[in-house]
Amino acid sequence: MTESSLTQRIAPAGIPASGQQPIDIVAAALADFAACDTATALEDAKAKYLGKTGAITALLKGLGEMTPEHKKLHGAEINEKKTAIEAALKARRESLANEALNAKLASESIDVTLPGRGRGVGGIHPVIQTWQRCEDIFGSIGFDVADGPEIEADWFNFTALNNPPNHPARSMQDTFYVDMNGTDGLPLLLRTHTSPMQVRYARMHAADLSNKGKPIKVIAPGRTYRVDSDATHSPMFHQIEGLWIDEHISFADLKGVYTDFLRRFFETDALTVRFRPSYFPFTEPSAEIDMKFDSGPLKGKWLEISGSGQVHPSVVKNFGLDPERFIGFAFGSGLERLTMLKHGIGDLRLFFEGDHRFLKQFA
């Protein structure tokens, strides 16, 4: 369409000088704009009214030939129309831009239910999570953490713990021996419990207690070994040892600390703890600790959870401390046992199979 043809077509409609009844120029513009469905078409339509040869421009030009009264009268009227047309143009422009954007966005839409891409994360073994939780709980009341040898000397594993060679209590723990002797000539062994760490740690810190009054307060989690293998026994398992020695740490304190521990570990006060007389060479009085949940699937069943007691005076002596002055408690619990109870796992062997399908459940 050429400019001249436009002018010819439009001019008669908007020019009152012709003497005809003027058609409504604003309504025409609105209709024209609405009919445009692209930005280019709209700009063309705009020229028809607001361009150099557009209808409004022509009207404005026409004003120059009018009398001042007419000028005043028509000038305001033409400006009103111009403003209306400009507003309509702006609105149509925005609307076209929105439509274009919406179309683009629609074409770009994705299936947000597809899985995210990338590598994923692994996870910590459930028994080690228990280990860490125990460290956190005991750490919250100032227990240190220690670890030591797993191939251990007879003295640390047994004799220092008041369990000399041939003692009947040695048969309580079936021991793995290795093909090496210690400097005492006795065969080295795989530690049957984490209790040797009581002795090692206490000997390292005895002077701090004797001279500076710094209590011995430690947990020692780690691997332990016994000649045993079935659904409830593994030849290798984890224990956590606890030891608190000071001038006044009593059996009542042991009950308090361990009960608190179980409630924090299982995150419920709805459990009952009982201490039952037992025997371990390295504690006296000795207690087996049982617990019972007040609710949940294991409700009402007594579960053995730990061995414990007041450290035997001979052992305190082997710590390098005066048993007259220093007393305290020790306990040893199975980390697998705690984990099984916490998660309702029935078979110990699952912990040692390395099955991804099992491990992922704890990630």
Binding site: L114, P115, R117, R119, V121, G122, I124, H125, V127, Q132, E135, G139, I141, G142, P149, I151, A153, P165, N166, H167, P168, F176, Y177, V178, D179, M180, T183, L190, R203, M204, P215, Y225, P235, D246, I249, S250, F251, A252, D253, K255, G256, V257, D260, F275, R276, P277, Y279, E284, P285, S286, Q310, H312, P313, I327, F352, G354, H356, R357, L359, K360
Partner: protein, 802 residues
């Protein structure tokens, strides 16, 4: 230890239910592991007498019995029975019509109905011991004594409304290894009266004494014995004794053996009965000599030495002292006529560990190594003699009782305040005194302490704590409060330059590795063939050959994890473990945390196998390679770590590296050597790593550097070098040559192929230059680049890529 509740209650009968009694024992330290009814539930089974037995007209194996059940039926009952021992005159358990037999496996009782068996009417059922649920074996109908009252309820007649207690005794409770011992303890716990120990007197008819010489006072403290002649070894053990033995889990063997077992169970007194006619000369009690051996009752022959106590006669060793008798003087059902009965005190230290050395255990050894009362030896010898005379007949000689060297019971003091401090409760002195009274612990007391002289049956009271334990135990652990401890506070925190093991685990887990826990003992072939450790530490008593040696590397275990998961259809496996490894090391000495000659450092290792990424949409599939895992390690290694090409028997020689920090090797990374793939049934190679943990826990303190505001200039270089030239050499050469304005040089691409010579590669390098003070001039930049290229040409034979 197993025994019938009724036996226990015959000595001490507290007014408690079975469950209450079991709980009370458990809470005093005698853990009742199991309480089982002596017989399962059943009803309307009575003593019947077979009046007549006819063959069943239509069945060879069945018989038709007429059974008298007394007042319960005016006429004898006709019952069809299949037992071979059914015959007229015997008394047997008879289930009446309407009787409920013990429940089956599903727990449903079996109800006896009137029935026709092969067209003959049957009005009940005659029962075996197995059918009553009181024995595992079925030997036909259970034949009752001929004086069993006809029509009496079997449960009452056989005392089946009883329970069997199984107690798990701790090694210190030697005094409770008998029914009477448990009764004594029941009295202490409950206060119910305790009957006097059972005793009998024996009148010696003969004058004969077997000469006994005790040559080892450190072995045998007291030795008593007597001859009994003309016994009937074939006599039947009375039913009541058999029943108590059977409920205690002891099979009835012969009267003499049963009597000995009975006295051991009731009083805790092991005794031994020799066949007197097989004893040559007198007896000698002594330590064995090296070279001597003994064939035991159980048929085993053991080699002896000076560590083992024995009883010998003129012919040689007869018996393993306190543990087991010998074969040559054993009593025999057919031939034994005259016996020698012995009861002795063997010192616990002389018995401990001996039977374990020979790899067997006996009830006698179990008791003697824990300690058996020496004072009651004469009473107990009389008691067993009286049973032998009653049951087997015969005539007894006088008791020969020699006391050589019995332990001394030293008084033990317990301070009241000390007991209160250790227990944590102010138990009153009066209460303590009452506890000692109930335990039968004779004592004196003053304002501050008690002094207890322990009885001869207690082997666990030597020091103050032993008494404190008795106080706590009988006072009741339940009555001791659970106190929140009061302690001084001191802040504790890990040094900021130290990383916890858990943080280290979390860091590698965040790289998509799952933690596993593998056994520390492995198959020896893993160590020898995979790790290349020809001298692993061996277990002396492994439970299986695949758990025979201590691992010196975590990697084979991880490879087994890969295999396990691959065999369970996983196409991508990533595992890690943190654990100790073990090897012989002469440089290690005994120390605070070390054991001489054993190196046992903590390691962390991982294995990645299968896809580099999980199979997923929009991501091309690619197998894992060295560089993926190298990148994973950047999450845990300090930035100063270097990867230096090196070979390891486990790893692909061209795709493995030592990891160095500060010139020290701290671990390995590499692709598994292809020769090990088959062993783990893998078709593609996993990439593995193993690191020492300690260096990874040491973090470097963060040091602040000014961030320069001057512009950074980037220039890219493409250098063609021989394949053998390592990229870190190229980068180091460039950096050195470029001088201080070079802030970074790194590789952003490596290309091999068209346009590049064979055995060559093109390395694309990004160079960033910056001066922290001023903007660089173009001339400086060009000069630096020229110097860098020149150095690469000269030192590495590099050429700028055309």
């Amino acid at each position: 230890m197993k025994f019938a509740e009724s036996w226990l209650r015959s000595f001490c009968n507290p007014s408690m239910t079975t469950d209450e009694l079991a709980h009370a024992l458990t809470m005093a330290g005698l853990e009742v592991e199991e309480v089982k009814p002596a017989a399962p539930p059943f009803t309307q089974i009575v003593v019947g007498e077979i009046v007549s037995r006819e063959k069943h007209p239509n069945a060879d194996r069945l018989s038709v019995c007429m059974v008298n059940v007394g007042a319960l039926s005016p006429a004898p009952l006709q019952i069809v029975c299949g037992a071979p021992n059914a015959r007229a005159g015997i008394r047997i358990p008879c289930a009446m019509v309407g009787a409920e037999l013990p429940p089956d496996a599903e727990g449903k009782p079996f109800v006896i109905k009137q029935a026709k068996m092969r067209s003959v009417e049957s009005n009940g059922m005659l029962c075996s011991a197995k059918e009553l649920g009181i024995s595992e074996a079925s030997e036909g109908l259970l034949e009752l004594p001929l004086d069993a009252p006809i029509g009496a309820d079997i449960r009452e007649y056989m005392k089946l409304n009883d329970s069997v207690f199984e107690i798990k005794l701790t090694p210190n409770k030697a005094d409770c290894l008998s029914v009477y011992g448990v009764a004594r303890e029941t009295h202490a716990i409950t206060g119910a009266p305790l009957a006097a120990p059972p005793s009998r007197e024996v009148r010696a008819v003969l004058e004969e004494v077997l000469p006994v010489k005790v040559l080892a006072p450190d072995l045998c403290g007291r030795f008593a014995g007597r001859i009994i002649r003309d016994v009937n070894a074939k006599a039947a053990t009375p039913a009541w004794m058999r029943e108590r033995l059977e409920r205690s889990g002891q099979r009835s063997i012969s009267a003499l053996v049963d009597i000995s077992n009975y006295v051991m169970l009731e009083l805790g007194r092991p005794t031994h009965v020799f066949d007197l006619d097989k004893v040559h000369g007198g007896l000698e009690v002594r330590w064995a000599k090296k070279g001597e051996s003994l064939k035991l009752l159980n048929g085993n022959t053991v080699e002896l030495d000076e560590q083992v106590g024995i009883i010998a006669d003129a012919n040689g060793v007869e018996s393993l002292a306190g543990i087991m008798g010998g074969d040559s003087t054993a009593v025999d059902l057919e031939t034994t006529k005259n016996v020698y009965v012995e009861a002795a005190f063997w010192h616990p230290l002389a018995i401990q560990g001996r039977s374990r050395r020979f790899n067997f255990a006996t009830d006698a050894g179990h008791r003697f190594e824990r300690g058996v009362d020496w004072e009651t030896i004469p009473q107990h010898l009389d008691y067993i003699s009286a049973f032998i005379l009653d049951i087997c007949g015969g005539e007894a000689g006088p008791m020969d009782d020699q006391t050589i060297n019995v332990p001394q019971r030293l008084p033990v003091a317990m301070r009241i305040a000390r007991a209160q401090k250790v227990i944590g409760v102010a138990v009153s002195a009066e209460e303590m005194a009452a506890i000692f009274m109930r335990l039968g612990l004779a004592h004196t007391r003053d304002a501050t302490s008690f002094v207890v002289t322990p009885p001869s049956y207690r082997f666990d009271i030597e020091i103050e704590e032993d008494l404190i334990e008795e106080i706590a135990r009988i006072y009741g652990f339940d009555n001791i409060p659970a106190l929140p401890p009061i302690a001084r506070n001191a802040m504790r925190v890990r040094p900021s330059a130290e990383r916890s093991l858990h943080a280290l685990r979390a860091a590698i887990a965040a790289q998509d590795y799952f933690e596993v826990i593998n056994h520390s003992f492995v198959d020896e072939s893993w160590e020898r063939e995979i790790v290349g450790n020809l001298n692993p530490i061996k277990l002396l008593n492994p439970i299986a050959s695949q758990m025979a040696v201590m691992r010196s590397s975590l990697i084979p275990g991880l490879l087994a994890n890969v295999r396990y998961n691959a065999s369970h259809k996983a196409d991508r496996v990533r595992v890690f473990e943190m654990g100790k490894v073990f090897s012989r090391d002469e440089t290690v000495a005994d120390g605070e945390l070390t054991v001489a000659r054993v190196s046992q450092p903590l390691r962390m290792a991982g294995a990645a196998w299968g896809g580099a990424m999980p199979e997923q949409w929009g991501t091309p599939k690619r197998g894992i390679d060295f560089f993926d895992v190298k990148s994973d390690l950047s999450a845990v290694l300090p930035s100063a770590a270097q990867f230096v090409a090196a070979t390891h028997s486990l790893l692909h020689p061209g795709r493995s590296a030592k990891i160095m920090i500060g010139g020290k090797a701290i671990g390995w990374i590499g692709e598994l050597h292809p020769r090990h793939l088959a062993k783990f049934e893998l078709t593609s190679a996993p990439v593995v790593f193993e690191l020492d943990v300690v260096p990874l826990t040491e973090l470097t303190e963060k040091a602040f550097e000014t961030v320069a505001k001057t512009p950074v200039v980037r220039r890219d270089l493409a250098l063609v070098v021989e394949n053998s030239v390592h990229s870190d050499e190229v980068l180091a050469t460039l950096k050195r040559a470029g001088g201080p304005i070079i802030s970074t040089v790194d590789v952003f691409d490596v290309y091999r192929g068209i346009g590049i010579g064979e055995r060559q590669k093109s390395v694309a390098i990004r160079v960033l230059m910056q001066d922290t003070e001023r903007t660089l001039e173009d001339t400086e930049i060009d000069a630096a680049l020229q110097k860098m290229v020149a150095a690469a040409q000269e030192q590495l034979g590099a050429a700028l890529r055309a």
